[in-house]
């Protein structure tokens, strides 16, 4: 849907090559593209204006002859400035040295506070802490039950006094209980509210005064539009935000709201929610979001996902097998399982620069189904068949097809693919051996 900024800039600047220095007019043309890209990414207009004027200053006078491509040079400046604006520090949670640290979660309705509370509790727990969740949202129907369910799932106790106790006395009681039971930190899930709702903002101020939180984190929906600035500014004005948690980054939003929120509060984005599962919660990486806002993909996250899902030991074993050519259908199955661990294919595809425009053109559902089918087929084989595929004759093929809910043709296709993969490996192994022996070209 959107052309990436780099493509656009390349287009605008193609004519410029070899014309001396970038003039104001050249840069103005480039800045129009930057402005467009940022606005399409939902960065607030006032932030965009400030930003483009800063980039403009740095860009005028770039020596076109010296820089290989003026477009690349401008992109570099844009990216540097974006990353600087998003914050270069590695964001950490500030926790008090003694006594329970209170972490207060605030934000609009539907931003994802309760889910974030559960995810944050899991994150803290995995760092060896003993958090307490506090259900201080007494207004939304079933908000308390929701937090209780989440608390149970992540194995963290939830403090509640039902929905008839006011949020302020409840927060006080929770703090006392945390002290008694030696729970630390205390995560307060407050009710969602509109930033223009004075009464409820006042309640938040009172909770703050009663519990003296070390962190007041604004939970913000990454898909928010131009409104992000006024929301963040108002919460900041009333409460003094210490950090931001950006949720729903698993959507295909460019996430320009992060920039707006950051510039309105000066507070760093500390975490990002990237999915429905409770462990889909990451420390925030400003440089990666900068790439994403510019539509330049997110290779680093992809690599990290691959590393997390990939078992190094298994990989080494596989490599040995490949060398010795005893790669079997069982190894094939392992490979597929590892790929699946990395997440849905379309999410992975989005992280590759330039690939987001492929969305909709390739049906990933199909590939995903193929993988699933292949897995079912291999699962329906006996161990002997997996190790020795050539024993699979007609009757076995029928049995396997029946067992996996596929057709004999599907089984045939898989076996053929596997056979071809093996042939290719054999060829590669020969190439490598020949190369080692003295760099001869392979015979044809």
């Amino acid at each position: 849907m959107f052309a990436t900024l780099s493509q656009r800039l390349q287009e605008t600047m193609r004519r410029l090559r070899g014309r001396g220095k970038l003039t104001e007019a050249d840069v103005a043309a480039a800045m129009r593209e930057v402005r467009m890209a940022l606005l399409e990414a939902d960065v607030s207009l006032s932030v965009v204006k400030e930003f483009t004027s800063r980039v403009r200053e740095r860009s005028v006078g770039i020596d076109v002859l010296q820089s290989l491509s003026p477009a690349q040079h401008v992109i570099k400046i844009v990216k540097e400035e974006l990353t600087a604006l998003l914050g270069t520090e590695v964001p950490r949670l500030q926790l008090a040295p003694a006594g329970p640290s209170v972490i207060m979660l605030v934000g609009l309705q539907g931003a994802g506070k309760t889910t974030v509370a559960g995810k944050l509790a899991l994150h803290l727990k995995s760092q060896g802490r003993h958090p307490l969740l506090v259900a201080a949202d007494t207004r939304r129907p079933a908000a308390i039950q929701q937090l209780q369910v989440l608390g149970e799932r992540v194995g963290v106790p939830v403090f509640t006094q039902g929905d008839r106790v006011g949020a302020v006395p409840l927060a006080r009681a929770a703090l006392a209980s945390a002290r008694n039971e030696a729970r630390d930190p205390v995560v307060l899930d407050t009710g969602g509210r509109l930033h223009v709702d004075d009464e409820l903002m006042q309640e938040l101020e009172e909770i703050k005064a009663a519990t003296r939180p070390v962190e007041i984190l604004l939970v913000a929906d990454a898909m928010t539009g131009q409104e992000a600035v006024s929301v963040a500014a108002e919460f900041h004005r009333r409460l003094g935000i210490t950090g931001v948690i950006l949720t729903k980054l698993d959507s295909d939003t460019r996430g320009g709201a992060a920039l707006s929120v950051r510039s309105a509060t000066g507070a760093p984005v500390k975490f990002a929610g990237t999915g429905e599962k409770l462990d889909m919660f990451e420390v925030f990486h400003p440089d990666r979001l900068a790439s994403r806002i510019l539509g330049m993909g997110d290779m680093l996250t992809l690599i990290e996902k691959a590393e997390a899902a990939y078992d190094a030991e298994q990989a080494r074993k596989l490599e040995q097998k490949l060398r010795k050519l005893d790669f079997t259908l069982e190894d094939f199955l392992d490979q597929m399982k590892q790929l699946k661990k990395m997440g849905p294919l379309d999410q992975l595809l989005d992280m590759i620069p330039g690939m987001e425009r492929m969305r909709g053109k390739v049906d990933l559902g199909d590939s995903q189904r193929d993988l699933k089918r292949a897995e079912a087929i291999i699962n329906s084989m006996t161990r002997e068949e997996r190790l020795n595929p050539h024993v699979i004759e007609g009757r076995r093929r029928r049995r396997i097809a029946l067992g996996s809910g596929t057709r004999v043709q599907d089984v045939n296709r898989l076996l053929k693919q596997f056979d071809e993969a093996k042939k290719m490996l054999k060829h590669m192994a020969h190439l490598e051996r020949d190369a080692r022996r003295g760099g001869r070209l392979p015979r044809r």
Binding site: Q109, T115, A142, Q145, Q146, M223, Q226, E227
Partner: protein, 301 residues
Amino acid sequence: MWELLRSGLAKTRQQLAAALQGVFGNRLYVDEAMFEELEEALIRADLGVGTAGSVVKAVKDRCAQDRIGDPALVLPVLQVELAARLTRAGGVLQLASRPAVLMIVGVNGSGKTTTVGKLAHRFRQEGRRVLLGATDTFRAAAIDQLEVWARRAGADLVKHAPGGDPAAVAFDAINAALARRVDVVILDTAGRMHTRSDLMQELSKVRRVVGKALPGAPHETLLVLDATTGQNALRQAEEFRAVTQLTGIALTKLDGTARGGVVVAIADQLGLPVKLVGVGERIDDLRDFDPEAFAAALFET
């Protein structure tokens, strides 16, 4: 009746009015700079760069055609243009069938369950028998939340255990509605990101099952959209339309927020009408959408 929408839109109105005051107020003649500022005001209202540009171009053409030189006369032209774009998509809730089946879909946190509760209340006030289907079996305590709303509104509820098959819940809800001679069935589906193809397939299955349980159903499939959402709303509408054949938008949280302009882009580019507007936290703060009133309320000073 429009008082509530107006008060809900008060902030939008103030902000846009202030912005437009700046555009139109202190000018003596219509010029290029004025149209540029107008475009910016529309961008700030989340219309998006493309739609804001095309609206401004249309207004500009109209002004040139009618030789409008007085900035004060540009505002009505703008209002008419916006209302026309919103009206073109048109649309009222289709409730003629008995039972009429409404399927409520959307991304996480857009306000689906609350909208279902408000709708149930409204239909009950109109004297209809209402049955809610708890097809959100995924989110923690979603069923409890819907149960509270059903009690408040006085509606029947069909539910399964958490984690159950949403299509099965939908099927049971419709059969129960047929047996109990209910007028309106509202299905509250689980929130899902439009990028999750597996979950979108699940939704498409729920829709198919609904159509099998009652031919012609669902009669309305509404995308619930948070009014603070930016340009991503367009992607949401596209993706949900692809799997569920959306019939309209329910725009929520229009109270206190200054925006909601993305619905102009959605009506414009996808031809999807806004049918409902949520303007407050109270159970009766849900309104039919009226394009003219909406456009007028945007610019009322």
